[in-house]
């Protein structure tokens, strides 16, 4: 029992933090945002191929590194710290669904290409399957505009959909670093996963932890950047960080962030160990991390004053990603309602 990074995990953390800090700069993120695809393709290539980050948690037989959710959370946290514009989450969702519920053939066919970054994956919920064909509209597909392969949880099964089989329309999305697309499937030919229920459960759980880790990194960035600003910015002849109102707000941010850090790594570790409280942990991490990120990003704007709500300043990137982290794959209220059920509130007194 030791709830701290192993030496290897600490090394991975160090590596990915440096990588994102150097590569996922504000300039590059903003360039990716301008494209409406919210995708830094060069960064993606480096992350997938040079560092192997996309296949980190994939079994080695499928081209991955065979690591687990802890390492995946480390990567997601580091990417979140830089609000990196990358389809990490969307690809992880597709990968996990395939690993958990795909046929042997499907896994062999798709996983190595997804792990290497050659293909980008995504995941959506909606539509219906009828005679091996997908019908209807699937909204809010993250990074859908750059994805090559979609896992679609539809009425009637879970489908594998190729990009060219349906119409994919990019949406103007509040968070431009992980924009949504809409899929209109007018009878697109799809393959079904072997075990759809398992695929969805596995994918969403991984998604919750990944979003929580992204939120943890983002919230920490909000705190760090605001602390730096509070030490520099002078008003009334004093660094604003000397005002107790500011100090206490920053302290409150740290209190929330440290709980979120415990939650994210508890959830990741419990998932890797198959612990009995793994599901509760994943709900807890997603719910808390989303609240923490919104709280910290809101405070980042507030404590920066006027410049905090300009387009030019990065605060709004965090603020919008925080909102997206909160609503994608279940709101905090929804996750807490699940926890209420898990602790037995619906059982007889």
């Amino acid at each position: 029992m030791r709830f701290s990074f192993s030496d290897e995990q600490a090394m991975i953390a160090e590596t990915v933090r440096s990588f994102f800090a150097e590569q996922a700069t504000s300039e590059r993120t903003r360039a990716a945002m301008e494209t409406a695809h919210g995708h830094d393709a060069e960064l993606w290539r480096s992350a997938a191929q040079e560092l192997g980050l996309v296949g980190l948690a994939l079994p080695e037989e499928h081209g991955g590194s065979g690591l687990g959710q802890i390492e995946s959370a480390i990567v997601a946290e580091a990417a979140g710290y830089q609000v990196a514009a990358l389809p990490l989450l969307s690809t992880a969702l597709a990968v996990r669904a395939l690993v958990a519920g795909g046929t042997a053939d499907q896994r062999a066919r798709w996983l190595p290409k997804l792990a290497s970054g050659e293909l980008i994956g995504s995941y959506g919920e909606g539509g219906r399957i009828d005679g091996g064909r997908l019908h209807g509209r699937i909204d809010h597909v993250p990074h859908g505009a750059v994805a090559d392969l979609f896992v679609i949880a539809a009425e009637g099964g879970v489908a594998l959909l190729s990009r060219d089989a349906a119409v994919v329309t990019p949406c103007t999305s509040m968070d431009q670093t992980r924009p949504y697309a809409r899929i209109d499937a007018d009878g697109a030919a799809v393959e079904l996963l072997a075990d759809g229920r398992t695929a969805i459960d596995a994918a969403t759980r991984v998604g919750w932890i990944a979003l929580a880790a992204d939120a943890l990194g983002g919230a920490q960035a909000c705190l760090d950047r605001t602390v730096d600003y509070a030490k520099e910015r002078v008003q009334f002849g004093r660094a604003i960080g000397s005002f107790q109102a500011i100090k206490h707000r920053l302290a409150d941010m740290m209190v929330e962030i440290e709980q979120t850090r415990s939650a994210v790594y508890w959830a990741a570790c419990a998932a890797d160990e198959g612990a009995p409280d793994a599901l509760l942990a994943a709900h807890a991490a997603k719910a808390l991390a989303a609240d923490t990120y919104r709280f910290c990003a809101g405070n980042m704007i507030q404590l920066h004053g006027g410049i905090g709500f300009t387009w030019e300043h990065d605060a709004h990137l965090f603020f919008k990603r925080a909102q997206s982290d909160a609503t994608l794959l279940g709101t905090p209220e929804w996750h807490r309602e699940r926890i209420a059920a898990l602790v037995g509130l619906d059982e007889a007194a």
Binding site: D139, T172, S173, Q235, F243, I246, F309, W311, F319
Partner: protein
Amino acid sequence: MKLGFSPEEEAFRAEAAAWLQAELSGPFADLRGITSLTAAPDRRRAWERRLGEARWGCIGWPEAYGGRDATLAEQVIFAEEYARAGAPPRLNHIGVELAGPTILAFGSDEQKARLLPPIARGEQLWCQGYSEPNAGSDLANVRTRAWRDGGDWVIEGQKVWTSLAQFSDWIFVVARTEPGSKGPKGLSFLLVPIDQPGVTVRPIRQITGDAEFNETFFDGARTAAANILGEPGQGWQVAMALLGFERGVSTLAQQMGFRNELDAVIRAAKANGAARDPLIRQRIAKAEIGLRLMRYGALRMLSGGTGGAEGNGAAALTYKIQWASWRRSLGELAIDVLGIAGEIGDGAEYGFGELSTLFLYSRADTIYGGTNQIQRNIIAERALGLPREPRGDIG
């Protein structure tokens, strides 16, 4: 204590409602329902003139300057009817509510006669130049300088968050006119025409993707020596008095805009089923309570008597943080009601529906016009008599 209106007041209400109805379903029908502060500026300029012609522009002002000497109740009624009619936001809000009352309070007879009627007629629009990039909440940390040159003041410096400057004819500028002075001393309150080579207005793009605020640069800008309000060096007192006018009848008009926003949230919640969620219901009820109490808080302020031991002067200091916090919460409620669908815009340009924009835009409410932190200092120090924050520089 009486909340109802007299028959005479109700007659006034009918007159105002009829006029507004005629205009906004007739010549100005295109402006009905507009809520954006920056939309249709040319038409809203025409609307300001129409209000002025009919003497509805500044009804609380003395008749001599184009007003109606309206009573408090009449002003309340007009604000309510204006909003009820779906009339657009006043493009000359700052002229009518801030510049005008300040000129009334501090102007010479000559200045009042020269400057007020064009505002009342809707011919001259105003904006304000308070904040500076290095000052932020520390309003007194003014670096913009001005000095006399012959019959003019010459101005050098930069103001920021000058909303509506792109549509305005005049800007009032707090400038340092005593070289070497610090903080609130040595400032003067200057009235400066905008349409001149020395003034440049540059929009600031915000979190919403829009640009509603501006930076305004003064590079050898000039204004006549007569365009100073109060004495040289008295600028801070004038500026502080002006801020007090922000808590006037105009708050009622602002609240009517909030009413529209809350109604839109309620409609959205009913449309998508969020209205059945007990958590959302609690938040909507809180928003409803808060909105109603803004109205009654404003009426207490305007009624001027004592509703409590402290008198309403102190209570008025709580108004800014109250509405700002309310609206920021409304923005959060709005996006939670919409859910993930609220994060999708309908056009190719970056931009969203009214309620999603409210979510983003309302983050500014607790910052501009004095952050919530500054407001709490003001309340603690002026209303509760607690010790002042020490300055780091001039004590």
